[in-house]
């Protein structure tokens, strides 16, 4: 394969018959741009959702009169639970110290600490919160009053409503984001393929003539593939440059605002660039090569 010749052929087409190439370029650029904006957003959104989820935990409040053995046994039991990632002990003093505002003042006035000690159990997977709670409860014979597996337990709290709401919202966000991301990626591939198809269609007579003077299919196809690589690379590059400018002039100045939630989890710009460029070039080149097959068959 004569690479230099095919490349010069591709360049010739780009210069003489540029309308279809420009259309393909625009499509690649625009879809890359959308993906380039959307991938970090998906990233931030799912990152934020995961962040919120990771804060879910089960609070096991202890009776003030629980014995040390009972507390130690409970801790062992919790730690042994395969759904539990880690267990932290919060003493009565710690609980009081974490209170703020008028309540704090109030307890000072009281002179005694009304808050109970507790274990805070972090689940491996936020969805397992309710299982951990269930593992600590037993239902008494008459099936009415909830009792706990350890006499040390005064109450088990996982803020049921809130947990469910958080799981639902974050789940919804992740579902929507992934759905949209998949939709956008498929859409981009389809749109780029579609434009390439049309741009080759616009040159079908030329392809016909080439075949009539004895060009093999690959001889016709290579320049199209190389042109596809050029167009894809150019479209991808312009999109990436626009993203970079956008990032530096709009996002970075206000990034404090965004840093509050999940900025550090955003995909690395270099990686993003690489992914986008490879995708743009790949789809564009493959699209050119594959689409041509239809016109080479007849």
């Amino acid at each position: 394969m004569n690479f230099r010749f095919f490349t010069s052929e591709a360049i010739r087409t780009l210069r003489r018959n540029s309308a279809p190439s420009i259309a393909a370029f625009l499509t690649v650029m625009v879809t890359t741009l959308v993906l380039g904006v959307f991938i970090p957003i998906t990233n931030i959104a799912t990152g934020a959702a995961n962040d919120v989820r990771s804060r879910l935990l089960v609070e096991v409040f202890l009776n003030d009169n629980a014995t040390e053995q009972q507390v130690a046994a409970l801790r062992k039991k919790l730690a042994a639970n395969s759904d539990v990632k880690s267990v932290t002990y919060v003493s009565k003093e710690d609980a009081l110290a974490s209170l703020e505002g008028p309540l704090e003042d109030a307890s000072e006035v009281l002179g005694s600490n009304p808050l109970p000690a507790s274990f805070q159990a972090v689940p491996n997977d936020p969805d397992q919160v309710s299982q951990i709670v269930a593992s600590l409860e037993t239902t008494s014979a008459n099936g009415e009053k909830k009792t706990y597996v350890s006499p040390a337990i005064n109450d088990v709290q996982n803020r049921e409503d809130e947990t469910e709401k958080i799981l639902s919202i974050t789940g919804g966000v992740k579902f929507a984001m992934w759905g949209l991301a998949i939709l956008l990626v498929l859409t981009s591939a389809l749109l780029v393929g579609n434009t390439i198809r049309l741009s080759i269609y616009a040159r079908r007579r030329e392809v016909e003539v080439m075949r009539m003077v004895g060009a093999t299919n690959w001889f016709i196809r290579w320049p199209f593939v190389i042109e596809g690589i050029f167009v894809g690379a150019a479209g991808g590059l312009v999109a990436v440059l626009m993203l970079l400018i956008f990032k530096q002039t709009i996002i970075d100045p206000v990034s404090d605002k965004f840093a509050l939630f999940a900025a550090p989890e955003t995909i690395n710009f270099v990686n993003l660039t690489l992914i986008l460029m490879v995708a743009a070039v790949g789809i564009s080149a493959a699209g050119s090569g594959l689409t041509l097959r239809r016109f080479l068959r007849a």
Binding site: N2, F5, R12, T13, R16, N17, R205, E206, E208, V209, M210, R211, M212, V213, G214, A215, T216, N217, F219
Partner: protein, 250 residues
């Protein structure tokens, strides 16, 4: 006379809409022959030629080129068949986004010719049809006759063993037509088998070569003219193939 280069054996071509393009044609063209294909408009001349180029399949019959049945040729081999046939198309079939030079060069490029070979053969070939000054024009910057001559230059640039011309002088004035016919005749004398479909009755009468006549898709006449190798040879006598002159300066 050499071995048969083209053999039609009961070949029929019926188009999708039922039109009969060619019906039950049987004939053979031997190596080195110069054959005219004549007949009224719509009689099947282009169909005959397009079958040879395998532009479409024959409906029935076998078609051999250089002893090979091309109706059984696999799709991958078609380009190699076409490279061995220099074709002048009735509608020229030039590449619109290439200059005159590049259009002719493309025929060599597909065969993997070297740059040196291209640089030597393309200008030579264009000079022979009288287009030395238009090398860098695009087809839409040429007159009808100029486009036709580019198509002719492309057909013989890689010295194919078989040359097929569909109406090669339809857009040319009588003088240029004669020059082109002399050129084709000279190419024929170097051993190339030539088939020319034409309406130029004067030319056919004058050249006194074999004539295949078609009518409504049927082969109605196939004869060698009486005064074979007489008059036209006199025209061309002083034109030695090794000493090819230019057709026209511009």
């Amino acid at each position: 006379m050499g071995s048969p280069v083209v053999e039609f054996d009961h070949v029929t071509k019926i188009y999708d809409d039922g039109t009969v393009g060619l019906e039950n044609a049987t004939t053979a063209i031997r190596q080195g022959e110069f054959v005219f294909l004549v007949g009224p408009t719509g009689c099947g001349k282009s169909t005959f030629i397009r079958l040879l180029m395998k532009e479409f399949e024959a409906t029935e019959g076998t078609l051999m080129i250089a002893g090979r049945d091309i109706t059984k040729l696999s799709r991958d081999r078609i380009p190699f068949l076409r490279r061995n046939i220099g074709a002048v198309f009735q509608d020229f079939k030039l590449l619109p986004n290439r200059t005159v030079y590049d259009n002719v060069a493309y025929s060599l490029l597909v065969t993997g010719a070297s740059r040196a070979e291209i640089r030597q053969k393309v200008p030579h070939s264009l000079r022979l049809v009288g287009l030395s000054t238009k090398l860098h024009n695009y087809p839409d910057q040429l007159s009808g006759g100029e486009q036709q001559r580019v198509s002719i230059a492309r057909a013989f640039v890689n010295h194919p063993p078989l040359m097929i011309c569909d109406e090669p002088t339809g857009n040319l004035d009588p003088e240029t037509s004669l020059g082109i016919m002399q050129l084709i005749y000279r190419i024929n004398r170097t051993g190339t088998t030539v088939l020319v479909a034409t309406h130029d009755k004067g030319m056919v009468d004058r050249m006194k070569r074999r004539v295949i006549e078609l009518k409504d898709g049927h082969l109605v006449r196939d004869e060698r003219a009486a005064g074979y190798t007489s008059e036209f040879n006199a025209y061309a006598a002083d034109l030695d193939p090794t000493n090819e002159g230019e057709l026209r300066a511009s």
